[in-house]
Symmetry: C2
């Protein structure tokens, strides 16, 4: 068992990749661009990053990112490499882990591409965050769900509804049989729909529904904001009987998120908006499996992974790799598994493939148009999603199951 | 005077840019991919984002980012456009501003490039953050500097020195006449050099120096970490007579930073490490002038902008545009000017151009090798930087000034 932190990168460089790897290791630990008396051999032994592995791949003819250095006639050479650092450099500390693994190095002139591919943390790092307290199991328990996924939806229009209009919509969705409703990420605490008014109105409607039917719909109230506000909003949700809060990760940051997560007594629905800026250039930024590990350890219970055949630019392969990675244990003693949230252009049509490729139904499947746009109305929309998952879990093709399940049949006709 | 938030983007799209702009506006406000009964005309009037301007530029033949949509025979069309939102959608709220301006839209399939270029905020938004409390003026006052820049340096090796070794180095640098010393961003609170031990050791040495010489060297102590730790560390620095704290912006996030900034009584040295991931792909992410506005309003006093002829991949033109933008007022009544920090491969050589292109000496000029690597030692290194700025501000070519300023003369010989 090592006590070193490891990080895998994909790099592209106009110079020898072995030399480029040394530049990275130097920049991110004890190196300087002028030799200094203080940089002794003992200090390097103690603190220097190490190149653990380097595997060259086929080069690119053109640089993936603008690069001030010209290549040396061998193109822009690509490699996968692993650096490691002693835990002693930073201790179990997530914000400073980000600095060490993914700080200045993206700007280095020696690279025409640099992407964080994966992270492995020593057991001593597990103390850096609380980890998810609920994950899929805890969420499904709170929703009263046994087998099958959590069927969810998003308040739409994203922004513009008043608190009472939002509550009325939540009531309709509850009546339609939904398990989970989330605010849109654009709706937090705008003057046109203040957080407190909205949460009181929505939870009052959902509470009445629970008393009538025995089913408590989970409402992810978007409390994104400043720390003290987020903690106060969390407490309001909890005191009103709410069972979930939602937050935009890239807006609050790791330190902001940790302040909420350490305080929270509810599942945290973690929204990744802004993620595209960190990931859409193939040789820049982060892979989702690496990036999401930081947030899982920090305490994210539900993590967005996009959905199959989504309206965004992500491939199905990438969506599934992201979703599966959330189930891989971070530490043997503290796995920090988060529940994947599939959303974006989702309908009953994607259920079978999602189940087959994920290998599990422990997820949240969120649909907007796939529910509200069902030809027989929202209740049939929710039912069609459940039926699609029932079929998938039973190993029955959706078309066969649809024969005596009209909601699924209508969804397949409309959305396929 | 408008009460709308405006954001300028550079986009690249396989479809008609006017249509692509509508998709962006819809995604980031009240639009949905299936028409919904709740999306009334009144709601759109109230909440929809508007396309204010659109100017097409020459198209690209190849998509800048992988794009699932093919072009329609006209290449990947580029345009500069402005969207606007009513302040009522989010209120004066920085974390949620980021969601609205730069959330899901980077992932939209209709784009092969999308970059935030600039932001304009209505006066009502000024309440969203405290703004810098010190900026260049307050910092120079605390450093006892009249005309000329703050001459600074960074503790190197970045990581690996013990608290006492760091303090000894700080003492040497103080003796060399430096104005400002900062921790490296890799050094925060690692077990090998805990924050408290380091700060006590360094400030004790600098305090003794101040009593001896009357000059108080500013030490930017890197307190990056979780919120409550950062606040406690700030108080420790303040109580020990320290005059600055440093934080890594991308690690703590906007909410994390605001929690520190609202609490802080000291100038905040804001480090942008990780910035490359948001900026190195030319058609993805953020321009620095736009991105830094969020942090200026949030309270950043010193902001890193790289340096001329730096060791990274940024052009001089971009460095200067970044630095100058920090002086442009955010609001007429609350300009939120931050002090630019020039660093990376800096020596006396770059002073003249930096002064000329910035149009001011209200900056921090930080050199590592340019001080420690000076042929006549660190004191001559500091002196060479001061002399280079004196020459620049007097309109005298460095070579001329160097005739009776040997430290500058030696620096020009070594570093040019």
């Amino acid at each position: 068992m090592t006590d070193r932190i490891e990080c895998d990168y994909l790099i592209e460089t106009p110079i020898d990749p072995a030399r480029a790897a040394e530049v990275m290791a130097g920049e991110q630990s004890s190196g300087t661009f002028v030799a200094l008396p203080g940089e002794t051999a003992a200090l390097r032994d103690r603190a220097a990053a190490r190149v653990e592995r380097l595997e060259e791949e086929a080069p690119a003819r053109q640089p993936s990112l603008p690069c001030v250095m010209a290549d040396r006639g061998q193109g822009y050479r690509r490699a996968r490499l692993t650096l490691s650092w002693p835990l002693e450099n930073i201790g179990p500390d997530l914000p400073n882990l980000m600095v060490t693994l993914a700080g200045n190095l993206f700007e280095l002139r020696e690279f025409s591409g640099l992407r964080v591919e994966d992270i492995r943390l020593p057991p001593g790092f597990a103390a850096a965050g609380p980890g998810p307290r609920f994950g899929a199991d805890g969420t499904k328990r709170l929703c009263g769900i046994g087998a099958g996924p959590v069927i969810g939806t998003i308040v739409k229009p994203s922004v513009g509804l008043s608190p009472d209009e939002t509550a009325a919509l939540a009531g309709d969705l509850a009546a339609a049989g939904i398990d989970f409703i989330k605010d849109d990420e654009l709706q937090a605490n705008g003057p046109a729909c203040p957080f407190g008014d909205r949460v009181r109105a929505v939870l009052s409607v959902l509470d009445a529904h629970a008393h009538r039917t025995g089913k408590r719909v989970m409402y992810a109230a978007n409390l994104t904001g400043e720390i003290d506000d987020m903690r106060r909003r969390h407490d309001m949700v909890r005191d009103l009987g709410g069972t979930c809060v939602m937050v935009s990760l890239n807006s609050v940051g790791l330190s902001g998120f940790l302040a909420l997560a350490r305080h929270s007594e509810l599942p945290i629905h973690a929204h990744r908006n802004g993620w595209g800026a960190l990931s859409r250039a193939p040789l820049l930024g982060w892979s989702y499996p690496a990036w999401s590990k930081l947030w899982r350890l920090a305490g994210a219970d539900h993590m967005h992974v996009n959905g199959l055949s989504n309206k965004f630019s992500e491939s199905d392969e990438s969506v599934i790799a992201s979703a599966r990675s959330l189930g891989e244990p971070l530490f043997a003693e503290k796995p920090c598994r988060a529940m994947p949230v599939f959303s974006s252009g989702q309908t009953a049509v994607q259920a079978a493939d999602t189940y087959r490729k994920l290998g599990s139904a422990d997820c949240l499947h969120a649909a907007g148009g796939g529910i509200m746009g069902h030809p027989d109305g929202p209740a049939a929309g929710v039912r069609s999603l459940r039926e699609a998952w029932e079929a998938a879990m039973a190993g029955v093709p959706a078309e066969d199951y649809a024969r005596d399940h009209p909601a699924l049949a209508a969804a397949l006709r409309r959305f396929r």
